[in-house]
Assembly symmetry: C2
Homo-oligomer: 112 residues x 2
């Protein structure tokens, strides 16, 4: 059962989300799309689009990414084929790493 949490977010997350939302709003206006149009194309409500553009952290990441794609904001500064390549590389690295992390006693701060 989900206990009633007032989730706390770091400033880093807040700023990152505000930036993403801002970039989306700028891109939408540059392309002269109304909020209504983009919301319909993304299959979401106008209210949700507003919250996304305002950097609200309590939104589905899928909705945010869809909107970004629609208005032309690139995630990871990359197009789809580049994303795919990076994904494959990440999966390769994951293969080389241990499947599970044995953490005897305390946490090891291994910043490489």
């Amino acid at each position: 059962m989900p206990k009633s949490i007032t989730r706390t977010y770091s400033r880093y997350s807040q700023t990152a989300s505000a930036l993403l939302g801002g970039l989306i709003r700028v891109a939408r206006k540059k392309r002269k799309f109304t909020a209504q149009e983009v919301a319909e194309r993304a299959g979401i409500s106008r209210g949700l689009l507003q919250r996304i553009e305002n950097g609200n952290l309590k939104c589905e990441i899928g909705a945010v990414f869809e909107v970004a794609a629609i208005v032309g904001v690139k995630l990871f500064d990359a197009d789809h084929s580049t994303l795919t390549k990076q994904l494959h590389r990440t999966e390769e690295v994951l293969e080389l790493l241990p499947k599970s992390v044995r953490n005897k006693s305390k946490a090891v701060h291994d910043d490489f």
Copy 2:
């Protein structure tokens, strides 16, 4: 009332989310954190962390960003001060753009 939607996501969003999740998992293992530890630090359940690392699009963007910050995955390839600068620039641009978009008749495909 939210009608029962089977939301559809573009391949771009799916790949981007899978990549972000993968980067998070790689970073977590490189730092030798167990899923349990990261989940606790982020204030989320282990199950949610699993879905995030699997690239599930139906997660709060706030939770995803928090986890990324904890394991050291940089959003927009930038630290906090850089994010802040970019955010300010974006807000400046927003000031110069029209407050509302008048879209007579049909959509204008203005890809600059």
